[in-house]
Amino acid sequence: MHKHSATEITTLFTKGEISAEEIAKNTLARIEHFDKDVGAFLAVHSERMLKKAANLDQKRKSGEKLGALAGVPVAIKDNIHINGTLTTCASKFLSNYKAVFDATVCSLLEEEGALLVGKTNLDEFAMGSSTENSAYQKTRNPWDLSCTPGGSSGGSAAAVSARFCPLSLGSDTGGSIRQPASFTGIVGFKPSYGRVSRYGLVAFASSLDQIGPFSTTVTDAALMMQVIGRGCDKDSTSIHAKAPDYVGSLSSSMKGLKIGIPWHFLEQLNEEVKQNFLASVEICKKLGAEIIDVDLDILSHSIAVYYVLATAEASTNLARFDGVRYGVRSPKATNLEQVYDLSRHDGFGPEVKNRILLGTYVLSSGYKDAYYKKAQQVRTLIIEKFKTAFTGCNLVMMPTSPFPAFTLGEIQDPLQMYLQDIFTIAANLIGAPAISIPSGFSNKNMPLGVQLIGPYMHDKEVLSAAFAFEKACGFGSKIPQAFDKEISV
């Protein structure tokens, strides 16, 4: 069953060929068997899932309408709320925090019959590119357990890559869906800003955060978007336009598409990644796409801009974690100042502290103009540059990550780690839809990914081109060998 896509599973379930209970039990058995090696999950909601599965089976028996994701197990990144269950954000600070409401995405998934499996590991508060910043555990890459699955949504990526479940949710602030998708050989989609409601996602950088799917196929990502890509009254930045038919508009051709490539910006590319990227470009050409050169040299500033803006927003978003209302209040505190200082000192890990400090600094009077305001100006320039680029092409194509997955512990220098995001950050800065699709393997047999970025709101077009690429490339749906076996329930 682990080979099935979400689309296949829901079809099997709807036809009555497999019960939701069987699906749930199979999922739980795989997690039980494999996750001690992978460490994808922070919490598995076995009881809850089995109960929902029983309900679903009952519904099918009584002939009720079944949803678009009926019977599909979906794992949720642990910075997205499922009412009544822990949302830790992989932080010690929230080790005791039970969500008091459902994130809009979780309600939508359950309305359509998805089975929420549990909560997946991440870099604390989604700050990181390797999931090593989790306060709880390391997550390993199913393709090589000594490697990172990427981050920050490393748990959600590993869960799908190891075929614990066919779908999962991640959040992407600077590449946190796409980079782990490329590291683990699956599809990861960051929708246009506002496509998916952020209500119930614990905010990292509000103007950049976006929830999106991990899947083994582009069709499944489109299916998931069909369910979660809706306007939400509780999120003021939500897009209220009618959701497009993502699945229906998938096309296996790239005819008439112009794909822009910032060749100059990509000159320094690592040889292995470069060869893979060139091969990917050839695939697009064969599919009928016209390749053009676009000037996006401004991307060299994107990391600097990102780490000013994202940390500025994060420094205020994380201010609410003060030990007064919820979370872990330091038992050593004897007065208000100590409640603040000690709770935050004990509760946050070093990377989170780095970013809060950096964000506080760039907003401080005397520095705000030089950092925050300047970064906003450059962000506007990047948006303009992309607008110009998109006048000549439909999509921009780049590698997802400058390197294949690295070994756990390999990157110690935060700045080196930040470079992971060099190709992914721009899509967040401009609010554009972007997808990472498997494009091959490195010499060490680690997955590589290619990224397609579309203009704001052109989510449908991005998914459609990715679908064509996936069909032609043939590297999609590859399962890491160690996990490519059935586990008996």
């Binding site: 949302t87 209500y199 509780k234 999120d235 930045t237 500025a312 609410r320 208000l336 401080s364």
Partner: protein, 487 residues
């Protein structure tokens, strides 16, 4: 001790007024905006800053803000924006306030206020929307936070530094309160904290053109306290400058935040300016900018009620009320509504106003209740004044009738007059003549005095007649007949 010449100095005051809007729900959540409920009952997940929650702007707030902008003849920004203002305090659920920093919804404008009979125009710098904080409650061994108030919509109106006395400050604040009440944007209940004042105060020699250092007094919650606080601070500053004529003024008054100590009747330093926080303002990414269209403004303009200064003009120029009487009425919105209802059936505005703000107000002052609350209908007060004006009763009888109206609220005063024989005026000339004859014969000395030119004796004789008739005779008739008889 220096002899301080206060009149050489000019106080310069700017007011910041925080006004809670009377919307049904809070600024960014669907929680009820209501005062006085059990702690932490009017809250949603947004109000307590739960992670994962997001603010959604209450459109009703925009409407009220635009109404205020129109009332102040301000410029209403077609584009405004919210910002985060960061500071840590337990009453702030997110540890940042959502406010408007560099793109407020309202800029400029004027508040017309009556200062001791003279209408003055005070310039408004800006007004912006922001959310209120919760409230800290201290108990013997711990403190608690009530988030019922957290997220209540506020409009902060910031004046220019154009106010030069405590009287002007009170007049400005009173006029602003009246505006907010008339456009029905706030309850303006100072005891409940829906209207709060901060004042920035400096003084300078009248010959100076630049400003000296200012201090801020926070949270004065009544007009009376504000007047006392400002006066005491002005005196303090002038005294300090006067006592140190040779020192650099910058060292005498240093910026800081003060509060007014009600017992000591003086301002007390809370924190110095150096300790002022860096609020690290930046645009709130969870809220899109606010766009106000011209048609939205037009729509609101159409329904804008008569504003206090327009009403003041009408009362003084068309109804001939004195400025003081007009102000008294207008600044008490309930009373003014009451007056308007009574005026609908009683054209004698001046007398009606007097009966309302002097006679009836005086009678019920101690009860702490309003005419409305007691249950006296404005139509009945109108009747009473009409009866005086058409001579049905005398003013003297009217006072007794008013007493009875308070004792039996809701009873038609015409019925009260009809049922009580004592309230029937003495109208036939012969009875009044008989009374006057009696008084004249009993007071021959006064008659002699009057004829000798002592005019006071006339008033005495009138008084005697009125006493004898128990006030039922028309003073005008008594006057006429007595004059005739004494000739």
């Amino acid at each position: 001790m220096t002899n301080i010449q206060y009149d050489l100095w000019q106080p310069v005051i700017g007011l910041e007024v925080h006004i809670q809007l009377n919307t049904k729900t809070k600024l960014f959540s669907s929680a009820p905006n209501r005062f006085g409920d059990e702690p932490n009952t009017n809250i949603t997940d947004v109000c307590t800053g739960q992670p994962g929650t997001l603010p959604v702007l209450n459109k009703e707030v925009l409407k009220k803000a635009v109404q205020l902008g129109l009332a102040l003849k301000s410029s209403i920004a077609p584009f405004s924006r919210f910002d985060r203002k960061s500071y840590f305090y337990p009453d702030s659920p997110r540890n940042f306030q959502i406010t408007q920093f560099d793109h407020p919804i309202i800029s400029g404008g004027t508040i017309l206020a009556d200062v001791e009979g003279v209408t003055k125009a005070f310039a408004v710098n800006r007004a912006h929307i922001e959310d209120d904080a919760g409230m800290l409650k201290h108990f013997s061994t711990f403190a608690g936070v009530d988030y019922n108030r957290a997220g209540v919509p506020l409009i902060e109106v910031v004046s220019e530094a154009c106010i030069h006395s405590s009287k002007e400050a009170v007049a400005y604040a009173t006029a602003l309160r009246a505006i907010m009440e008339y456009i029905d944007a706030s309850d303006c209940n100072m005891e409940e904290g829906s209207l709060r004042f901060d004042a920035n105060i400096s003084v300078r020699l009248k010959t100076e053109t630049t400003l000296r250092n200012k201090i801020e007094i926070k949270n004065m919650n009544s007009f009376h306290n504000m007047e006392m606080a400002i006066d005491s601070e002005i005196k303090r500053q002038i005294r300090l400058y006067s006592e140190n004529p040779d020192a650099d003024p910058k060292t005498i008054i240093q910026g800081g935040t003060y509060r007014f100590d009600l017992e000591k009747k003086e301002t007390v330093l809370m924190r110095k300016k150096e300790a002022a926080e860096d609020y690290r303002y930046f645009p709130e990414p969870d809220l899109p900018p606010v766009f106000i269209s011209a048609s939205f403004i037009e729509e609101i303009k159409k329904d804008l009620p008569e504003l206090p200064h327009e009403r003041f003009k009408r009362y003084t120029e068309q109804l001939f009320l004195s400025p003081a009487a007009a102000s008294t009425l207008i600044n008490d919105r309930q009373m003014c509504l009451y007056f308007e209802r009574a005026y609908a059936t009683c054209p004698h505005a001046k007398n009606l106003c007097n009966w309302l703000i002097v006679e009836f107000t005086g009678r019920i002052k101690d009860s702490g209740r309003t005419l409305q609350a007691i249950g006296i209908l404005p139509e009945h007060v109108a009747s009473l004044v009409n009866m005086i004006e058409d001579g049905t009763i005398t003013g003297k009888i009217a006072k007794c009738v008013a007493d009875d109206m308070i004792l039996s609220p809701g009873k038609d005063c015409r019925l009260i007059v009809k049922e009580n024989p004592d309230y029937q005026p003495l109208q036939d000339t012969s009875s009044i003549e008989a009374l006057i004859d009696q008084v004249l014969s009993e007071n021959s000395q006064s008659v002699t005095d009057y004829k000798a030119g002592k005019t006071k004796a006339f008033a005495f004789l009138i008084g005697q007649v009125m006493k004898l008739c128990k006030g039922k005779a028309s003073p005008i008739m008594v006057n006429e007949i007595l004059t005739k008889k004494l000739q």
